[in-house]
């Protein structure tokens, strides 16, 4: 939980944009450094938590904290510019100021994953919520079994974190399976071609002593969960994050609920078992 020294729980921390990375034509990653010295040291978060990012004059928007908790001193956020706030964020250059509120929500129970094999499955722009966990695990590599990453997008240019995909591919201790939807590949594409669920079925990671982590648009999750069942994963072994419209991020404004579960307070990280218990309203 974040310790709010000041009393106004809606007041954001100010952060300066240190680096701007264009992942795809409309997806951008911003590297942020908190302006206030005290906040820079005291800001502690866990993989899977999210923040409310302010573009002053436009409002706030909700994305996960994309950088790994093991990397101190800065945080990263990755967003696609679709709405008013994200388009305003896109206009920020290096040195500009924006606001960050958080960290909010629960996180991946990384301690329970020690000693287990990990299977990361992500689609399109849903890699960032898993990327924070991937880097977290890679920084503590010896604590885990083998790590498989299945990541796909509509076309090659839609793949985010291309540099890191390269890095993961070259590492010996990670099995990366890149894919693009049929027809999205260019001639010299070295990854697979096919939808993420089918590619996952081919990769067929073993369910024995392993944890699956899924993140993607609702349609992808709907087709990926059955694949995991066929591969022998039980519902407790599969984790996912839900993306609902949020405003306050701390359980007050009443809009992110799926059934009686507040995605911002009781989530965003849930096991497949919890997701199946929720009514179909997300």
């Amino acid at each position: 939980m974040c310790d709010h020294t000041n009393k106004n729980i809606y007041l954001p921390y100010l952060a300066t944009v240190e680096e701007v990375i264009d992942e795809t034509p409309d997806v951008r990653t911003l590297k942020l450094v908190f302006q206030d010295e005290k906040v820079r040291d005291s800001f502690v978060f866990r993989a899977g938590q999210f923040g409310e990012y302010s573009a002053f004059g436009a409002g706030e928007s909700t994305f996960c904290i994309a950088s790994s908790p093991t990397r101190k001193g800065h945080i990263e956020c990755c967003f696609r510019s679709v709405g008013r706030v994200t388009e305003e964020l896109r206009r920020l250059e290096v040195g500009d100021t924006m606001g960050v509120r958080g960290p909010y929500g629960n996180s991946f129970p990384i301690e329970d994953f020690y000693g287990k094999n990990l299977v990361f499955v992500a689609g399109g722009i849903a890699l960032p919520p898993l990327r924070t966990l991937i880097w977290n695990c890679l920084d503590l590599r010896d604590k885990f079994g083998d790590i498989t990453i299945v990541y796909g997008a509509r076309t090659e240019s839609d793949l985010v974190y291309k540099r890191e995909l390269q890095e993961w591919q070259e590492r010996g201790d990670v099995r990366l399976v890149k894919t693009v939807d049929p027809g999205g590949n260019s001639p010299d594409w070295d990854g697979k071609v096919g939808f993420v669920p089918t590619v996952l079925e081919e990769a067929a990671p073993s369910a024995e002593n392993s944890i699956a982590l899924v993140c993607g648009p609702p349609i992808m999750i709907k087709f990926t969960l059955p694949v995991f069942e066929r591969l022998g994963f039980t519902d407790e072994q599969v984790y996912t994050t839900l993306e609902n419209r949020m405003k306050c991020g701390l359980g007050k404004c009443g809009r992110c609920n799926v059934g009686n579960v507040y995605v911002c307070k009781d989530g965003p990280v849930f096991t497949a078992k919890q997701v199946k218990a929720m009514p179909m309203e997300f």
Binding site: A58, G59, G83, R84, E87
Partner: protein
């Protein structure tokens, strides 16, 4: 105590509507009938959508049947299945709204089976549902009604409405406001708009507010402030009145449903008066394929233009 307006013909009208609805449902001429049914509170009524002839018995028509049911046929109301012909119970003012919607090619006449109602008036929003209909408790719009007997419907009960002459409430209020100075009018409207809490009931019940995404729900660009501060409220109500100019049929649902009793229909009646004066347009029973603000003549007034 002012005399009760004789509403005995409403029970005969209720009977006629039930028989007609049962007939068109059982013969399969319509897939559903949108009408009024009794609600829990004594004397109150609520809209209802019935699909079987057996349910036709629930239909009623009383002075509490105040809703304009046309809103249920617009594309804003996605929940009601629009397969096949739909029957709808319409008062004169509601029918004018339907005619306006047909003019804007939102609805087709052959998709609707119109059950007209000879209406002598319904209750105002400020009275309890069970009170009797008198010159005091009647809705302001009914004091100026010229559509007691709807025209061009598929079926109208045989009753003829006996109408008592009533003092026109809106015309009097508009005249009073026009006599004030601009500063006094601004103060009056500022006080009214300050009461608004942006619940958008006026927009959601209006048959002509069928936009996919209302100007006020858009934030790229943010033309109208969303917070219910007086500044945002004033902008909202001015934009609403402008977007309904030349389209509003005078069903005064916006004024009826406003939780804060803001006299919203004054704005629409004033616009209607201006359009009558400027372009001789008036909401009526015959479908016009072009509203006053979607057409022009080269002799339009331009005295205000340098």
């Amino acid at each position: 105590m002012t005399s009760l307006i004789d509403t005995t013909i409403y029970s005969a009208i209720t009977e006629a509507i039930r028989v007609e609805a049962a007939r068109i449902l059982s013969e399969g001429e319509v897939t559903a009938v949108v009408g009024y049914a009794a609600a829990r509170r004594k004397g109150s009524a609520q809209p209802i959508v019935i699909n079987t002839a057996a349910d036709a018995g629930q239909l009623i028509f009383t002075p509490s049947c105040v809703n304009n049911l046309a809103v249920y046929l617009t594309k804003a109301k996605k929940e009601i299945s629009k397969t096949g012909k739909i029957g709808i119970v319409v008062k004169g003012c509601d029918l004018k709204a339907l005619v306006g919607l047909m003019g804007e090619s939102q609805l087709k006449r052959e998709d609707m089976y119109l059950i007209g109602v000879p209406c002598i008036g319904v209750l105002a929003s400020t009275v309890q549902p069970a009170t009797g209909l008198t010159a005091e408790t009647i809705a302001p719009k009914c004091t100026e009604c010229d559509a007691h007997l709807p025209q061009g419907c598929d079926f109208v009960p045989a009753q003829t409405p006996v109408v008592t002459k009533l003092e026109h409430k809106y015309a009097a209020e508009i005249a009073r406001l026009e006599a004030l100075t601009p500063a006094e009018r601004w103060a009056y409207w500022k006080e009214q708009f300050t009461k608004c809490i942006k619940c958008y009931a006026c927009r959601q019940v209006c048959p002509f507010c069928f936009c996919e995404q209302c100007l006020c729900d858009r934030n790229k660009p943010q033309m109208v402030d969303t917070t219910p501060r007086p500044a945002g409220n004033a902008a909202w109500h001015i934009v609403r009145a402008m977007h309904l100019a030349g389209r509003c049929a005078g069903c005064a649902e916006c004024e009826r449903v406003c939780p804060m009793d803001i006299p919203l229909n004054l704005l629409n009646r004033k616009m209607a008066m201006e359009l009558k004066e400027l372009y001789d347009y008036e909401a009526g029973f015959d479908v016009l394929d072009k509203g006053p603000l979607t057409m022009f003549t080269d002799k339009d007034d331009q005295s205000f233009i340098k």
